[in-house]
Amino acid sequence: MTKRIRYPLLLCLQLVTATLVLLPFFWMFSVSLKPATEPFAIPAQLWPDNPTLENYILALRPEFQRYFLNSVIVCGATLLITIPLALLAAYSLSRFQFRLLSVFLGAVVLAQFFPAGAMIIPLYKIVRSANLLNTYLGLIIAYITVTLPVAIWMLRGFLLKVPKTLEEAAAVDGASPLRAFFDIVVPLARPGIIATSVFVLIVTWQEFLFALSFTSSKEMRTLPVGMNDYIGQYGIRYGELMASSVMISLPVIAIFFFLQRQFVAGLTAGAVKG
């Protein structure tokens, strides 16, 4: 194929792909702006006749704020615990050889093939017997079981790329191993740390199943579970549901937007070396 045919063809393909991916988001946004009477008007309208923000105002109930706070606490804590632990673990896995290394790394990958549904009952039993049902800590621990192995695996790929000579240079310069770790290794692994953090945030921020199973009271719910409020026995309040969906997506989109270069670079780097 010549360039002249190939270029427009690729462009068309990209447009189709982009449309397929973005259409649900567009629909979400569009519905969130429709007045309560409009969502199911027939024929369906791509854009509301009378866009309004009333859904957003309705959606920003005190409960929503509570859910938001819960999500921030659970996700933030998961992140703040996962990253340092993963960093130290990945560091030792990247610097020291031991016999079970490949077994461990294989197990991490293998664990990703298990659907969350398969893990939920044993995890539930563990959380319950630790008396941590319906607490932040219970949910955080459950999340860490998912995020930590993947974070270790990702970070190890980055740490392998930090040349050993630099740590040796630091050792000769008088730095202790821990000091060299913080002064040299951590700054150089920053893109990887950012990529891994974004990954952890995305996974936890949208998590539904664990959050639903391990919390029972309304006060402990996170955003994805809280959205259930709009799905009632007698109907679904689509406008508010979509408005809160938009608000839930915004932080993730914003983070991704600001860090996308490092994130993409990070993912590929981790992929090659992992």
């Binding site: 040349p163 000579t165 630099l166 040796e168 240079a169 630091a170 050792a171 000769v172 310069d173 008088g174 730095a175 202790s176 000091r179 002064d183 040299i184 700054p187 150089l188």
Partner: protein
């Protein structure tokens, strides 16, 4: 400033012996070059001195004190790595100042000493840049500045010039040597380049397969190589080594037979002679005749080679000589500079 002693240090990786029982005394302020082909254990030896690798057995002494159990940072030495080992996320000033920062030197003094070290290696204008914005030669000088900023007892340099182009290498060689003289700091310098070793060293220690072959001043090693390996390794073009039989004061070879009256050995041997000690003469007037295989103009001389058995023999002749390929000429050994080595062990024999 401190003397360094290696007390039969050995390093094994599994069953592979990388460094085999090396003993060496390095005087205070001496510039010692560890020379040998790639893979012979030079870096490993240096890393054991630095404390980056632990000897399997043996002792390392710095300033008369056994340092085997001290971490690198506590040995008061500085090291220049082959790939420079600069911290890419730090500026040049931060790179140079890092050892001082770790040692908690107050900021003002740190800045002063960084500036002094940078000036010493002509880097003063580049202090705010990152290593990635520097050329190879400049990076090399940053690594040097980081080494001298602390005024340690001992410098270790592992092939510090090998990543530079030929011209820069020559000028850095001179600068480095000058700097070392000026500071008077004991230095161990690793290289596989015999020219570097010859030009910079107070003493050279030649290694092969983890073993020390010979230690001595460059000229001493050049003039009296302890074995055939050292003889062939030092000097460019390298020494001619010819299998001969010695008996009754004569050196015999299918193509020649020369008198060597003061040689008190007999039996099979290896005859060694440096290209500059041989000469090209008219056909029939030398020790043997041969066809010119190549004649290369080196600038100050002409390198003439000829086949002798399976070997190519090289002769450094005066540049005024004019011979052409295929021409038949005579070759003559310089009688005063014949070397003999055992055919079994390669060790030097005679005199």
């Amino acid at each position: 400033m401190a003397p360094v002693t290696l007390n039969s240090i050995t390093k094994r990786w599994g069953t592979f012996v990388a460094v085999d029982s090396i003993s060496l005394d390095i005087a205070d302020g001496e510039f010692l070059v560890l020379l040998g082909p790639s893979g012979c254990g030079k870096s490993t030896t240096m890393r054991m001195v630095a404390g980056l690798d632990e000897p399997t057995s043996g002792e390392v002494l710095i300033g008369g004190k056994v340092v085997n159990d001290l971490p690198p940072g506590a040995r008061d030495l500085a090291m220049v790595f082959q790939n420079y080992g600069l911290y890419p996320h730090m500026t040049i000033a931060q790179n140079i100042g890092y050892p001082l920062k770790v040692a908690r030197v107050p900021k003002a003094e740190r800045e002063r000493r960084v500036r002094e070290a940078a000036e010493r290696v002509e880097l003063a204008g580049l202090l705010d840049r990152k290593p990635s914005a520097l050329s190879g030669g400049q990076r090399q000088r940053v690594a040097l500045a980081r080494a001298i900023v602390r005024t340690p007892q001992l410098f270790l340099m592992d092939e510090p010039l090998s990543n530079l182009d030929a011209k820069l290498r020559v000028s850095m060689r001179a600068q480095l040597k000058h700097l070392q003289r000026e500071l008077g700091t004991t230095t161990i310098y690793v290289t596989h380049d015999q020219v570097e070793a010859m030009t910079m060293a107070d003493r050279v220690a030649v290694m092969r397969d983890g073993r020390l072959q010979q230690v001595g001043a460059p000229l001493e090693i050049y003039n009296r190589p302890a074995n055939a390996f050292v003889a062939g390794f030092l000097g460019n073009p390298s020494m001619n080594l010819i299998e001969v039989d010695v008996s009754d004061g004569r050196v015999r070879h299918p193509r020649f037979s020369i008198e060597a009256r003061d040689v008190r050995l007999s039996g099979p041997a290896i005859l060694g002679q440096r290209p500059e000690d041989m000469s090209v003469v008219n056909s029939g007037e030398g020790d043997f005749d041969g066809e010119v295989y190549t004649a290369e103009l080196l600038g100050d001389s002409v390198l003439v080679t000829t086949r002798l058995g399976d070997e190519l023999i090289a002769v450094k002749a005066d540049k005024s000589i004019s011979v052409s390929m295929g021409e038949k000429v005579g070759f003559r050994f310089g009688r005063s500079a014949l070397h003999f080595f055992s055919r079994e062990t390669g060790e030097r024999i005679g005199e």
